[in-house]
């Protein structure tokens, strides 16, 4: 095998050569005596096992207890983790990672390529029954589907330890963004001997062995998680924050109160409160783009209503909604109105110039009237649809606003509120007309959004099947520059309108002004305790 193409992208080369790691404390800064960071969790952590975890919040904790091949820096660029760098074969199908030789588990054992082989097989192994097993398929790792289906043994997965510090992955189709996917917590290594010895209890505080910058010292379910600096971590000399504490507070307003009382260093801001907090605490309140998009999914499939099979009706519904009111009057947290699917801040993505995005709202409204009229609907022949959303004050407010906005068009929306599981179940059995939906990207690249509406995606609950769309997305996988294809895909979505874009998320939070090192420009909001430090007043 010949390796000639060194590294996958120029961005990666730049990131890796910088060797940015751990807390980057400028020389003129005086550090505070107490280096503890207390952050907020909305819910109890479901699992501390990287291959079992499914939650964003769980990942926030896991990134401190374990370390994968690559990490992200403050701007979302890849920086070395356990892997120093990698080479890609000419055909783009074989990735060979060069692992650092000073990586250690918290029990002192070295981290080797075999640990990655074991963990990746473990993710796909049916015996593990991981809800994230499909991530191996998403990464296109060779034989992943067959292993998950139980048709092949886990050791036939396309991963191999060439030697202790060389980890090789074979994928079945070239994926330009493959390295970006390695930041995901489900790809983190776990230590086989510990898992084998303790079974499901291996993640208990005191038992858990990780290779991250911190070790788990306490985990009271639904109350708190405490992590302390791990001295065996390869970069522990540069790790400043000595303790990380995560407090579970199930109510976002209560979280804010406790932040204001000084119990937390970072907390999310409840909808509608950002302007007030920004005025009162300008140095603490901030709003940064966050890798999720909020939409109404339309059921265009067989079980969907007749009216929604007409693209003109779907366009009219999308045009009739005034997104500025939603983001400025309801959410008020720096979210942005959306006229397309992919989040605007995704790396390397530029939104295509969609005609309807550039219209004024009165123009859109006028166009909506015309379109509905052509399709045979209007105030005289009202269109009756249901809009379902999962229980949440914000979803409810938005749904009410939308139903009022569409009323002048002769569209009568019946609002249906369901608890989360029922909402999801109804969507997945195509038992809906319009449904609130949000997607958070798994990695910082447009395909994490656009793949969703391919006919083979499995997440396409509205059953939007479009041959042209499938072709464009298929081609993007091997394209030198996929951007024009991504834009084409967005144009198809804008034309066919199987979804109604509403807004792009922002991460709106309060952070103590003496905390440094949180990501400034990373749409995934991926943060690492080892990068943080607290300055003295």
């Amino acid at each position: 095998m010949k390796f000639s193409k060194f590294l996958a992208s120029t961005a990666l080369v730049a990131g890796l050569t910088l060797q940015a790691h751990a807390a980057d404390v400028p020389d003129d800064v005086t550090l505070a005596d107490d280096q503890t960071f207390t952050f907020w969790l909305l819910d109890a952590i479901k699992s501390m096992d990287p291959q079992i975890n499914t939650d964003v919040e769980g990942s926030d904790v896991l990134r401190n207890l374990f370390e994968g091949l690559y990490n992200e820096d403050s701007d979302g660029q890849l920086v070395p983790g356990v892997a120093l760098d990698h080479i890609v074969s000419d055909d783009g199908l074989t990735y060979t990672f060069n692992l650092r030789d000073d990586a250690r588990w918290s029990n002192g054992e070295p981290v080797t390529a075999n640990d990655f082989v074991y963990s990746w097989r473990r993710l796909a192994d049916p015996a593990t029954a991981s809800e994230y097993a499909w991530y191996m398929e998403l990464m296109q790792v060779e034989n992943a589907s067959a292993v998950i289906a139980g048709d092949m043994a886990p050791d036939e997965l396309g991963v191999r330890a060439v030697d202790d510090h060389t980890f090789e992955v074979t994928i079945s189709t070239p994926l330009p963004y493959f390295p970006q996917m390695l930041v995901h917590a489900s790809t983190f290594p776990v230590l086989e001997s510990v898992v084998a010895e303790h079974g499901d209890d291996w993640t208990d505080a005191g038992t858990l062995v990780g290779n991250g910058a911190y070790t788990l010292t306490q985990h009271t379910l639904g109350e708190r998680v405490v992590m302390e600096k791990n001295d065996t971590y390869w970069d522990s000399d540069n790790t400043v924050m000595t303790e990380l504490v995560a407090l579970t507070i199930n109510d976002v307003n209560q979280g804010l109160t406790r932040y204001l009382a000084g119990e937390l260093d970072r907390v999310d801001v409840p909808a509608g409160q950002y302007p007030r907090l920004k005025a009162e605490y300008p140095a603490q309140a901030s709003s940064t783009p966050y890798n999720c998009s909020y939409i109404y999914m339309l059921n265009v499939g067989e079980k969907g209503p007749e009216a929604l099979k007409d693209a003109r009706v779907r366009q009219a519904l999308a045009y009739g909604i005034d997104r500025d009111i939603i983001v400025e009057r309801i959410l008020q947290g720096g979210q942005r109105p959306s006229y397309n699917w992919t989040h605007w801040a995704i790396a390397g993505f530029e939104r295509p110039q969609l005609e309807w995005a550039n219209m004024t709202q009165p123009e859109r409204m006028e166009r909506a009237h015309e379109l509905l009229d052509e399709a045979g609907y209007g105030p005289d022949n009202p269109l009756e649809l249901t809009l379902q959303y999962n229980t949440s004050e914000d979803h409810k407010k938005i749904a009410i606003a939308v139903s009022q906005m569409l009323k002048p068009l002769g569209v009568n929306l019946t609002l249906d509120n369901y608890e989360w599981k029922v909402h999801t179940d109804r969507m997945q059995s195509q038992d809906f007309d319009m449904a609130r939906y949000a997607w958070c990207g798994d990695y910082n690249e447009a395909s994490t959004y656009l793949d969703l509406f391919t006919s083979y995606s499995g997440h396409n609950s509205g059953e939007f099947y479009n041959v042209e769309y499938d072709r464009v997305m298929g081609e993007s996988k091997t394209a030198e520059n996929p951007l024009p294809l991504y834009q084409e895909a967005e144009e198809i979505l804008g034309e066919e309108m199987p979804i109604i874009p509403i807004y792009h998320y922002a991460n709106v939070d309060m952070v103590r002004d003496d905390i440094r090192g949180l990501p400034q420009n990373n749409v995934n909001q991926t943060w690492y305790g080892k990068d943080l430090y607290r300055v003295a007043d």
Partner: protein, 305 residues
């Protein structure tokens, strides 16, 4: 008496069985499952999960296996959602917390509630009576989901005296106990007051007064015991309600108690945790109803089993 207790225990077993079967079937019928998530799972992954947790078996067999594991090993199975933990572990972590704030709230509610009620009845139509009635009505109309944020606002944010949540030591207990006990306290005070007023008009009290007994002795010795009957019938279920947790207290004070775990298990379709907590609550309810009945017999000798 002993035969009565044995009989009640004998009835408890089929009651619990019915509870298990009905809860299991209801849960099974609810749309969505523990593995329903935003991203629809590939069928093979879902099949692997269902196989791992025995959900691929027919319903009757799932229930039979479940009951069998409880009877033979006292094993309530693994949580379907908190996958690192078994139901036994979740209850073992959460129940002591809930029990602590539950028992403390109960004691506070009973001591303050009964004292307030008796004082109000004895000084009927006095300023003390009106104040007691006023306070208890106030406490009752302030539900704990209003009370809890107010307490945190005042004692944590404004005064800075107490932590606003968590469960690390006695100073963390105070706010949850106050939040949980106030409405119970108010009910107990009102029941005690009206029952006491009734008892105080009865003949045996008049006789006691005629005999020239000191008022203190009349109240504590002759009036309080019969006046407690309606209070006790209220206390049995109230006690179970308090020690099996309050979801409001758990949410607002992040105690890590069992009340939140129970509600979450229903929303998450975490069948195993939901069943475990249901059985725990069912058993405690049966147990405390029995205790209340026994107490009744002790207080009122007219009651015979």
């Amino acid at each position: 008496m002993l035969t009565y207790i044995l009989k009640r225990i004998a009835i408890a077993i089929p009651t619990l069985l019915v509870l298990i079967v009905v809860s299991y079937v209801l849960m099974y019928m609810a749309p969505g499952g523990p593995f329903t998530s935003e991203r629809e799972l590939p069928p093979q992954v879902l099949a692997n999960l269902n196989a791992k947790y025995g959900l691929d078996q027919p319903l009757w067999r799932q229930i039979a296996t479940y009951v069998w594991n409880i009877v033979t090993d006292f094993d309530f199975g693994p949580s379907f959602v908190y996958k690192d933990r078994s139901v036994n572990e979740i209850i073992a972590q959460g129940f002591p917390i809930t029990l602590t704030y539950g028992v403390l709230s109960f004691l506070l509610a009973v001591i303050v509630g009964v004292s307030l009620g008796v004082a109000a009845a004895v000084r009927h139509n006095s300023a003390l009576d009106y104040a007691a009635v006023g306070v208890s009505i106030g406490a009752q109309v302030l539900p704990n989901f209003v009370m809890a944020p107010i307490l945190v606002l005042v004692f944590t944010l404004w005064l800075g005296w107490l932590p606003g949540g968590g469960w690390q030591g006695p100073e963390y207990w105070i706010l949850p106990v106050i939040a949980l006990s106030t409405s119970f306290m108010a009910s107990i005070a009102r029941i005690t007051r009206s029952s006491m007023l009734e008892v105080l008009t009865q003949n045996h009290i008049r006789t006691a007064r005629a005999k020239g007994l000191p008022e203190r002795r009349i109240i504590l010795r002759h009036a309080l015991k019969p006046a407690m009957l309606p209070v006790i019938s209220y206390l049995g279920p109230a006690f179970v309600g308090m020690i099996t947790g309050s979801v409001v207290v758990d949410i607002y004070f992040s105690t890590g108690g069992i009340g939140k775990a129970f509600v979450d298990s229903a929303l998450n379709r975490d069948y195993a945790v939901m069943m475990g907590v249901t059985i725990l609550m069912g058993t405690l309810t049966i147990l405390f109803n029995l205790i209340v009945d026994i107490l009744y017999g002790w207080i009122d000798p007219k009651i015979r089993f």
